[in-house]
Symmetry: C2
């Protein structure tokens, strides 16, 4: 793996794991009022499209990164929709 | 442009514009308490790395998408850090 590939993996790693702190914060606080529903709806649509794209072009890094992001993203979205009724 | 490329652009479009609703919500409400600082710090690091990667491999879509994301991301991060002192 050359340094350019490594840079790409490091970038993908950061933008993927970025959703962990948000998911953990929501799990702990059960507060989602300030989070934008539109953001996570658009993000879900985008991540699903990335996943289909990754499968078609047979790119393991795209598939792996977007699978992780989709799981975290759906957890945040589900909790946001569930909690919004009580906030 | 074939349908696979179009799919990639649609994916990039969704995951990029996703940050607009969050930035607009923050601008309107001035509330950032439920947003994770860790998420936007990691996201900033990741987007900067994507930008460098895009410049090195000379990919206009990667450069364009990540420039837009970086601007929105930095606005959210700056407002979060500024407002957190009063929340």
């Amino acid at each position: 793996m050359n340094y350019v590939e490594l840079l790409g993996y490091a970038a993908a790693f950061c933008t993927t794991v970025a959703f962990f702190p948000q998911a953990i914060k929501i799990y702990k606080t059960k507060h989602t009022k300030d989070i934008s529903l539109g953001m996570f709806l658009l993000l879900t649509a985008g991540v699903v499209l990335w996943l289909i794209y990754g499968i078609i072009i047979d790119s393991s890094p795209i598939i792996a990164a977007n699978t992780v992001t989709l799981i975290l993203d759906l957890y945040i979205l589900y909790t946001k929709i569930k909690l919004d009724r009580f906030q």
